[in-house]
């Protein structure tokens, strides 16, 4: 499977995701944001980091970069697109995913391993997980507080477009297991065609027991499935 990782000035998880993809046998290419063409890709990853120093709003400037036009075209043609952390913020700024990531409710940058629950496992990104499986995945963000309008929230629930929700280790989804104030504890969402996933947690940091755990592995093996 061919993957492309988009690199912006200020991206800092681009190497991590490349290592994870290669470990999972993806043929990966790094693509600088000034490029106007994408290599042939089955999967495009918009990685985490602080593109353009989070100037204006997180992801706002990257969301208008040259390569993003190609990402939008490919996404509309059905290519799989994964946005992690700042990548999720960028995808909302492009309109590929609806809603927005506000500043964390308690105004603090949060870097810790949290539990998330697999809500929809019937997608290209999550078919190797069990429904309601609880994962431990790292989050590291200042703007991860997902917000959207009530019509879209209904759509997310009715169409089963919520990928992951923050929970505690028993899988309970409540206010105390919500690290950043996200609406309904949402940690990741799909677009209506389910070929785009945006998530704040970092699955690429959870692919090796030596440094963390392997709870992120099945996201990549789902894609290969």
């Amino acid at each position: 499977m061919n993957s492309s990782v988009i690199v912006f000035p200020g991206s800092n998880c681009d190497r991590d995701i490349a290592v994870a993809l290669e470990k999972m046998q993806f043929k990966n290419k790094m693509v600088w944001h000034k490029e106007t063409k994408l290599p042939k890709s089955d999967l495009i990853v918009v990685p985490g980091g602080f593109s353009y120093g989070d100037y204006l709003r997180s992801g706002a400037i990257a969301g208008k970069s040259l390569i993003i036009n190609e990402v939008i075209k490919s996404a509309n043609d059905g290519c799989l697109v994964l946005g992690i952390c700042n990548g999720f913020q960028i995808l909302t700024e492009t309109g590929l995913l609806k809603g927005v990531l506000l500043r964390n409710k308690k105004l603090k940058f949060i870097n810790k391993d949290v539990n998330i629950k697999v809500i929809n496992n019937d997608t290209k990104f999550s078919n190797k997980y069990k429904k309601n499986q609880v994962l431990k995945i790292n989050i590291a963000h200042n703007e991860g507080n997902y917000f959207t309008n009530s019509d879209h929230l209904k759509e997310l629930n009715n169409e089963n477009l919520i990928a992951f929700k923050y929970c505690n280790e028993n899988g309970d989804i409540n206010e105390s297991s919500n690290p950043n104030g996200s609406l309904e504890n949402i940690a990741g969402i799909f677009n209506s065609k389910k070929n785009i996933l945006g998530m704040m947690p970092h699955p690429e940091r959870m692919v090796d027991n030596l440094i963390s755990n392997t709870d992120g592995v099945n996201l990549f093996s789902s894609l290969l499935n």
């Binding site: 208008k64 409710k105 308690k106 105004l107 917000f147 104030g181």
Partner: protein
């Protein structure tokens, strides 16, 4: 031709920074303070001579980049 643009969070969107500023001012004894909303301010200079055209351009800039209309409102003023 110069314009100012003010971008603020919509009324129904929580503004934790504004809230902290408000609490701090209150703790400094500013007790008649009703509310504070924090925002962003831009000064934009254009070469256009037609004020209507120029204002439309600034409006377009707000919609395309300066404000995220899901959560933010903006105001344009000629200065």
């Amino acid at each position: 031709m110069k314009f100012s643009v003010t971008v603020t969070l919509k009324e129904n969107v929580l503004d934790p920074q504004g809230k902290v500023v408000q609490n701090t001012l209150q703790s400094l004894g500013m007790d008649n303070l009703k509310s504070i909303r924090q925002g962003k301010y831009f000064e934009i200079e254009l070469n256009d001579s037609d004020p209507q055209k120029a204002e439309k351009k600034v409006d377009d800039m707000c919609k395309k980049l300066l404000a995220n209309l899901i959560i933010e409102d903006y105001k344009v003023n000629k200065i």
